[in-house]
């Protein structure tokens, strides 16, 4: 069996930031990701990020990804792509289905001293009549098609959901040369940032709040959808139906944390609606209810790349400290800085809810860790 000091599942912003911090402090780090490229969501995000200018805001997600990979390499982080963490056993034995260069897979067990789970989130689906027709897909999938694979999903798109994902992907679909016929949102208000919504309005996209898709029709693939207005009880109002012609429908109805590995290892979970579902309990070091197993990023509650990154850093610093690579004072200084930035990111009308939700989770952490 192989040995590594720190094994990290997921090479998104959380996993990479954790890897960089732990390796910078001197730990031997392996990151495992099931994709063909490390970076998680970052390489799909061709737009400039929000955040504090002191921390790479105004830089495009994909460029943050490139910078992080260079940094990880500089500190000697080992990255296995095409490889999935499929098991987590007692005493921190990590089972990996490792992708080999010849396309084969092999099963590898690694004895880790510390494990960090940063497996991100997955898209929610919405069901309506005809939702299985070809051409209907997740917004994240459409974003991967245009920004990573450079393939247009179609010509005319109807987007469902007005959170930041729905707004940003609508914009990027137009940048890729598609037309967005309409953005449909069931709630009475736009969920994401006004500035993102304004961008697509200037490009002529109507936003229908208090509306939903009733039905999608088509023979080989979707060719039109019926939308209708919703009353205050979220019921369609008869007579308000509109038919929109389209060949693609993209669903941006939120994300939920991926907690398979967390469940496998019996970490305590808690349900948190703000964060998108069941999330592992953790303390301010991002350590779960099992000592030496850390969690970070969207896995601990769906937020943003910059919060994922800072949480990743916290877990990396904490793991390095626990391994003896940082003194308590050194670690405290680093962690205090990170928490200050995290608090800044969780402010304002959009962030506040997440600050309260995070505080609930921290307060819920069992006093004596198993």
């Amino acid at each position: 069996m192989l040995n590594r000091e720190v094994v990290i599942a997921g090479a998104g912003p959380a996993g990479l930031a954790a890897a960089i911090e732990a390796a910078k402090a001197g730990a031997q780090v392996l990151v495992v990701d099931l994709n063909i490229k490390p970076g998680g969501q970052l390489f799909k995000q061709i737009h400039k990020f929000f955040g504090s200018s002191a921390h790479r805001s105004g830089i495009r997600g994909m460029d943050i990804g490139t910078q992080m990979l260079a940094e990880a390499e500089k500190y000697g982080v080992e990255i296995w792509i095409n490889s999935a963490v499929i098991g987590l056993y007692s005493d921190k034995i990590v089972s990996i289905e490792r992708g080999l260069e010849n396309g084969e897979k092999e099963l590898v067990n690694i004895q880790a001293k510390k494990v960090i789970l940063a497996t991100g989130a997955s898209e929610n689906v919405v069901r309506f009549k005809g939702w299985t027709l070809p051409g209907i897909m997740g917004a994240g999938a459409a974003q991967t098609m245009i920004n990573v694979n450079r393939v247009k999903p179609g010509k005319k798109v109807v987007m469902l959901g007005s959170g930041n994902v729905g707004l940003i992907v609508s914009y990027q679909l137009m940048q890729a040369g598609c037309d967005v016929v309409a953005l449909v949102e069931a709630a009475p208000k736009i969920g994401g940032y006004g500035v993102h919504a304004s961008k697509i309005r200037r490009a002529g996209v109507p936003i229908y709040t208090s509306h939903t898709i009733i039905e999608a029709r088509g023979t080989d693939r979707v060719s039109e959808v019926t939308i209708a207005e919703l009353d205050s009880k979220w019921q369609p109002i008869p007579g308000t139906e509109k038919v929109l012609e389209c060949d693609v429908v993209t669903l941006a109805a939120g994300l939920k944390p991926i907690s398979d590995l967390v469940r496998l290892h019996d970490l305590d979970l808690t349900f948190n609606a703000v964060f998108g579902g069941w999330v592992p309990k953790h303390n301010r070091d991002m350590e779960s209810t099992q000592s030496g197993i850390y969690v970070a990023g969207d896995t601990t509650g769906v937020e943003e790349a910059n919060t994922a990154l800072e949480e990743g850093r916290l877990s990396g610093v904490a793991a390095a400290e626990a391994l003896g690579y940082l003194t308590a004072e050194q670690a405290k200084e680093l962690k205090d800085d990170i928490w200050e930035r995290l608090d800044g990111l969780r402010m304002g009308p959009f962030g506040e809810k997440r600050m309260f939700a995070k505080n609930d989770i921290l307060a819920d952490f069992p006093a004596c860790v198993k």
Partner: protein
């Protein structure tokens, strides 16, 4: 209707959030117009302005406030704003026309002297407009800034051009 209902910022909202440039300042030449009224965690505009004309402060969710006397209308901040929420308006361009500069991240880019369709915050075509300048230096990091000449009376309404 308001920004969070249909994505279009209203004049009332801009007034409430103190993001209207004064008529006196407009008379002095080009000036940045910031349309960012929600407390989001974002501040690159503050760092972008070498004149120190944009203030956000701490925490970073504070709204950007423009000191219109410090602003030279240089347009650097336009490309640095990830929300594409900053424009430049020059109401002194000619007797009948004003200049509007806006971020434009679509292809193909318009060319200088081309006639394009100027659009409002709703994406409604307001008038034809001549392209005066297209700036796309490396420092703008792939957010080109387009400047068009529009009828002066539409300077508070036109904010972009129709996608080609």
């Amino acid at each position: 209707m308001a920004l969070d209902q249909n994505g279009v910022i209203t004049r009332e909202e801009l007034i409430n959030f103190k993001q209207i440039v004064s008529d006196e300042r407009y008379k002095k030449g080009p000036v940045a117009v910031i349309e960012c009224i929600q407390e989001i965690p974002c501040n690159p505009c503050e760092a972008a302005c070498a004149q120190g004309a944009i203030k956000i402060g701490m925490p970073i969710t504070e709204l950007p406030i423009l000191d219109e006397d410090l602003c030279t209308g240089c347009s650097i901040c336009i490309a640095k704003c990830p929300g594409l929420a900053i424009f430049m308006v020059d109401k002194t361009y000619s007797d009948t026309q004003a200049l509007i500069s806006f971020p434009y991240e679509y292809t193909p880019l318009p060319e200088k002297d081309e006639i394009v369709s100027a659009v409002s915050r709703e994406g409604v075509v307001m008038s034809e407009a001549k392209v005066i300048k297209v700036m796309n230096p490396k420092s703008f990091d792939r957010t080109p800034v387009v400047t068009i000449a529009v009828p002066k009376e539409m300077a508070d309404d036109i904010r972009s051009m129709k996608r080609k």
